[in-house]
Amino acid sequence: MNKLPPLIFEKSRDGKIGHGLGASQVPAEPALDADLRRTEIADFPQVSEVEIVRHYMALARLNYSLDAGIYPLGSCTMKYNPKINEKLAAAEEFQAHPYAPHDLVQGNLELMARLEQWLVALTGLAGFTLAPAAGAHGEFTGMLIIRKFLQEQGDARRVVLIPDSAHGTNPSSAHFAGYEIREVPSNADGIIDVNVLQSFLDGQVAALMMTNPNTLGIFEKNITAIASALHANGSLLYMDGANLNALLGIVRPGDLGVDVMHINLHKTFSTPHGGGGPGSGPVGVASHLLPFLPVPRVVKSGDKYRVIYDNPQSIGRIKNFYGQFLVLIRALAYLSSLGRENIRRVAEDAVLNANYLRKRLQPLLDLPYAADTLHEVVFSDKNLPVKTLDIAKRLLDYGVHPFTIYFPLIVHGAMMIEPTETESKETLDEFIAIMEKILQEAREHPEQLLQAPQQTPVRRLDETLAARKPVLRWRKGENL
């Protein structure tokens, strides 16, 4: 395993430079008075070009990514990102200034319109905005749409309901949009019961935010009854589309009564996830909410694409320009290379892979919710001689990125595993073999697991101390 390289500041030696600009041809006429000018930059690293290159290469070698191996981070849908996406996103033909006249960027506008058509076809909703910069931004946008809609109905409401299995971003987004949060408990099967929901419904409930399949990997099978109960109460159904990968081409949320949903292009549609992405969280709405979508909207009139900036009922702009355009290219590249007839196999294989892991790991780990698994499976730490964290840390020693741990919160010591459809059976078998080995170690030498990881550039970090007393600045001569 690679070693942790020293900081670039520690490599610095006085007088080294990485480049020579030559003497200035312009007479020096400083814009600032001498007393305002800095004569040197304190402790700026001084290194040669080759040292800089090696420094960053050394850092890059510490990376773990999908190009290195399986990344079974539950609820994140870390699927392989096909290289054709990158090739097309880098194509010169798509590079344009955001202020370019629309006549000159018809191809880019068409790309946005076609991606929207794809999302409409896959979700059964009426229209999408591609502007949100990430999933949580999409949630927030969706909440603003719901708020504006209800306000225009003269029925501003104050409360958003959220299941206890939800992603933490859901309550945050609703709270940011001005709502009070009420938590709805899941039942013994890990899903929302209509009667329980009914007891929460009153004239203040604006919406329920529901993830389907939920974070236990279980389909919320009461969803149509839930939608009816909400609509009868004048409330809306928001669906968090983080787990759309399980439904792709099989179930259309719009057919289930969903009013608003966001989807994550960086999950379901194979655009980069993590490391800054950037993400992209398009928001789709049913037809009665179309007028409230953010601007700008790309529309086709005749054989030309136009951009509308001033829908009177729109919630307005939520991002500069047109969203993460280069991410949109990747998503359309993915959908176009799969083709409509193959898209269903994404969900089928994702579900098959998760169920294969469930079946093989179930003899070794406690499965707290026995309902059918879709795209991911959640085990608990019940009856284990070590903690979930110890298992996750030990996976690092085997060169595997751990699964999501301690989430969802309703499972004690949760291990949330989502293999995605892009992992082969051989890779899953390797992962299972590693898990079997680790669980055997846990039984025979639990103390070894408490010491994990042993093979990584840094050993087990004191995350508690780091959070309580963070050291945010490096200073020369000060030892950490």
Binding site: G168, Y406, L409, T464, A467, R468
Partner: protein, 129 residues
């Protein structure tokens, strides 16, 4: 620590009554379940809460959790030590790790709280699940 003088909630908070005021904290069980506490967000002085309103926030290495106001009332003091020493919640949940003090507005709500014996029975019920 004289736990027999404390009152408890099913949300794992404790109260130490003093006339119409109460010190409020989280229980040994709660701190153990949360794991290492790294940050505590306390309410502003003078804030009024109804019973069950989220009143404080505890961030541990595992999760961020709401602390619900165990009774209705007004915040009269908060434990300032926690801003630099959140670990007190783990180390002394019934002592220096208390969260805040509140003046109660609905004394009759006390009837709904549990005494030590009932709380311990409740805990046994949970762990038996």
């Amino acid at each position: 620590m004289a736990l027999e003088n404390l009152l408890f909630t099913k949300e794992h908070e404790w109260l130490r009554m003093d006339g119409d005021s109460a010190d409020v904290g989280i229980t040994e069980y709660a701190q153990h379940e949360l794991g290492d506490v790294v940050y505590v967000e306390l309410p502003a002085l003078g804030r009024e809460f109804k019973k069950g309103d989220p009143a404080a926030n505890i961030e541990s290495v595992k999760a961020v959790s709401d602390v619900f106001s165990p009774l209705s009332g007004t915040i009269t003091a908060v434990n300032a030590k926690l801003s630099n020493n959140p670990e007190l919640v783990n180390q002394e949940p019934y002592g220096d790790g208390f969260l805040f003090k509140m003046k109660l507005s609905h004394m009759d709500e006390i009837k709904e709280l549990l005494d030590q014996k009932k709380y311990e029975e409740y805990l046994q019920g949970i762990s038996g699940e």
